[in-house]
């Protein structure tokens, strides 16, 4: 049974009135309020986004963030903030950026602090085969736990129809679950099948069940008891993977870039509301319930594989969307005098199954073209670019990008290797930007990655934490630059 999504306001009247970012008239300050939209099985629950640990503005000109979601940027050429360890720069526009985001699951999760043993009592499996896997999904909490059986002391035996054993919930960083608060815990069996060409395999969600009343209490033993039943597989899709087309673009991802060894290809599912807005792109859509996943398909060759699938998760709550995800990781070995700094340029696509044309999975977006720094091509090392160089590029050859994100990596060389650490990101909708003067330091070595992003209405410069499906991105990773 499907129920419509309800929007539940858990906020004060004042907050509800200020749910949209605003710019106040105070000169030199850009203000707004950010909302965390928690997409649960029982509706969307809004709460203020806690920005009390964030900083806004460059050193010496601090802004402010509050637990009530409020923020204030000192105006400048860039709006600078630090939400974690990394600096983010947004263009100073006519209005404040929207720092709100949609989250999968409720927003009040807590995590166990003491050892919390969870015993498996999973029955009515299909005959277990080597390569099968379990998946635990708790949509109300936004939890997807892949392969929990690998945490057991001994893997399930071939032919088994039941799984026992136990593992520590805490060590897997899984949250406290509470059936009384609406947490419905699914356990699903992903059954392995050989691909038609026999070269590799795929897994499909074929059986599932709900562990009625499953609750985890910090420090107390619990039992995950569930009997699985077949999941209807009413839909069939021939995935026409065009690895050769992705491989043909690999060289555009940076100097020395090579085709991916084994791109990740899957059919995943998520609540419909998250198809419209989510920040899941930042996790490469890898944290979601999986209906079908292919084994290590070739990054350079094409393959056609017909899969049948069903989605049990929408049966108890809000409507869900099924979509194909592709993560094509292109290794880029950035050459330095001390060795190679290895970065990965990603080509990412997340496309609703309903939007796939004839099942073809080809690159929807290619990397930017002609990336340059201070006028010089970025596919060769560049010295003396200054501490505030201008980057320029041309839009991708394939697809229409709606935003660009530039990441700056600092290189640190020692006898043990060359390590790259992302120190800043800058968002824009333009095809050029001038790196803020405070990012690059004289004497340092850096790499920049320019990500082209495509999606209906996706504007990372204005809404850095929100994208809709279909979504695509493609990275270009530069050679070393030195100020």
């Amino acid at each position: 049974m499907r129920t419509s999504i309800l929007r539940i306001s858990a906020l004060s009247f004042i907050f509800a009135c200020n749910a949209k970012p605003i710019t106040e008239g105070e000169p030199g300050t850009v203000r707004g309020v950010a909302v965390q939209h928690n997409v649960t099985e029982h509706g969307i629950v809004d709460q203020p986004r806690d920005l009390s640990a964030a900083t806004f503005g460059p050193d010496g000109r601090p802004g402010a963030g509050g637990a009530d979601g409020s923020f204030a940027f000192p105006a400048g050429d860039w709006l600078e903030m630090k939400l974690g360890g990394e600096r983010t720069f947004l263009p100073a526009g006519a209005s404040a950026p929207d720092l709100s985001y949609y989250r999968f699951g409720r927003g009040d999760l807590t995590f166990p602090t003491a050892a919390t043993s969870v015993a498996f009592d999973i029955s009515s499996l299909g005959n277990w085969q080597a390569g099968d896997s379990l998946q635990i999904v708790v949509p109300n909490a936004g939890v997807t736990m892949e392969g929990p059986e690998t945490m057991l002391a001994a893997p399930p035996t071939a032919g088994a129809t039941a799984i026992g054993g136990q593992f520590d919930w805490t060590s897997n960083q899984a949250p406290i679950l509470d059936a009384a608060r609406g947490d419905t815990t699914w356990v699903a069996q992903m059954a392995v099948n050989a691909t038609d060409d026999g070269r590799t395999y795929y897994r499909a969600l074929t059986r599932a069940g709900v562990a009625r009343g499953f609750t985890v209490v910090d420090g107390q033993a619990a039992t995950l008891s569930v009997a699985l039943a077949p999941v209807a597989q009413p839909r069939a899709l021939t995935l026409r993977w065009k690895g050769s087309e992705f491989a043909a673009l690999a060289a555009q991802a940076g100097p020395g870039a090579r085709p991916a060894a084994a791109p990740a290809l899957a059919i995943r599912a998520l609540p419909e509301a998250l198809a419209q807005h989510s920040s899941l792109f930042s996790r490469l859509y890898g944290a979601l319930p999986t209906l079908v996943e292919l084994g290590p398909v070739s990054g350079s060759e094409d393959i056609d594989q017909t899969v049948a699938f069903g989605d049990p998760f929408g049966s108890t709550g809000a409507a869900w969307t099924e979509f194909v995800t592709v993560v094509y990781p292109v290794p880029v070995a950035v050459q330095t005098a001390q060795g190679n700094a290895s970065l990965t340029a990603m080509m990412v696509a997340a496309v609703p199954v309903s939007a796939l044309v004839d099942g073809v999975i080809a690159p929807p977006l290619s990397p930017v073209r002609q990336p340059r720094i201070a006028g010089a091509p970025l596919d060769s090392a560049r010295a003396g670019v200054g501490t505030s160089p201008t980057l320029t590029w041309q839009p991708p050859e394939i697809g229409t990008s709606t935003s660009y994100r530039v990441a700056v990596y600092a290189l640190d060389a020692s006898s043990l290797g060359v390590h790259a650490t992302r120190i800043a990101t800058l968002d824009t909708t333009a095809t050029s930007l001038q790196i803020s003067a405070s990012v690059l330091s004289p004497g340092g070595s850096y790499v920049v990655a320019i990500t082209a992003v495509a999606g209906d209405g996706v504007d990372l410069a204005a809404r850095p934490f929100s994208a809709s499906l279909p979504y695509a991105s493609a990275d270009f990773v530069s050679a070393v630059i030195t100020p």
């Binding site: 070269r199 020395g256 996790r283």
Partner: protein, 266 residues
Amino acid sequence: MIPALTDTLVKGLTMTSTTLKTGTTLLTLALGPAIAFAGSANIPAVHDAMIFGTSGGADTGNASGKGPAMFAGADGGLSMKRSLVTFDLGSFIPAGVTIDLVRMDLVLGIIAGSGMGGTGSNLPSRTIRVYHLTTAWNEGSSGSPTSQTIGGTGQGFTISTGDTSWHYTNYNGSTWSNLGSDFNATEIADATFTTPFTVGQTCSWSSSGMVSDVQGWVSSPSSYHGWAIKSDLETTATSFLGWWTVDGANANSNSALQPILHVEWH
């Protein structure tokens, strides 16, 4: 730019072109003494294995000579996993050359810590170090026939004759001097990987220490026992990263999955 992945070795009069396993081309001229020029190669692993220790540091008794993957780190039960690897240096690197650059590439096949969705967000930063092995070891045949899938192989397989393990270099004969393999205490390379991890991602290590090791092994092949791959988090639950082995690559008919050592020389 990285040079073209082509070896050039001039030895004599007759020129032949032979495509080797990884697509490296070897040009051979049978004319006079060997003269080596700048070149490079992508060298496949010749042996790879995973070894298993208990949370207390004892041998679990399992091995994985022919398993599809090799891990570094700990599982949810705090059992430790380390990986051992050697590459086919002798077939690819000419004698007498000077090694300029070494990079080991492993393709990620599994990530521990899927509690919040399979991206390893429980431990968002994982440092993996490479150590110089000092004792010879044998790959063995446990895990044969090799599975196409990695899941379920992370505890290894019943040890069989010829396997290496946490205790044995060659079961049921010689043993390591130290449980968990014998290696120089100072690592020769490290790399830190951060979320979001993704299967199929290439993890690389490249350092001057690796250059020194390969240079030494080219000069003294008998001392070549390969590298141990070890996680800083091997006493932290649910911390492992796992990479495809040669056997896993073969099982999936995808040579791009196998461990590769990229070497450049002059």
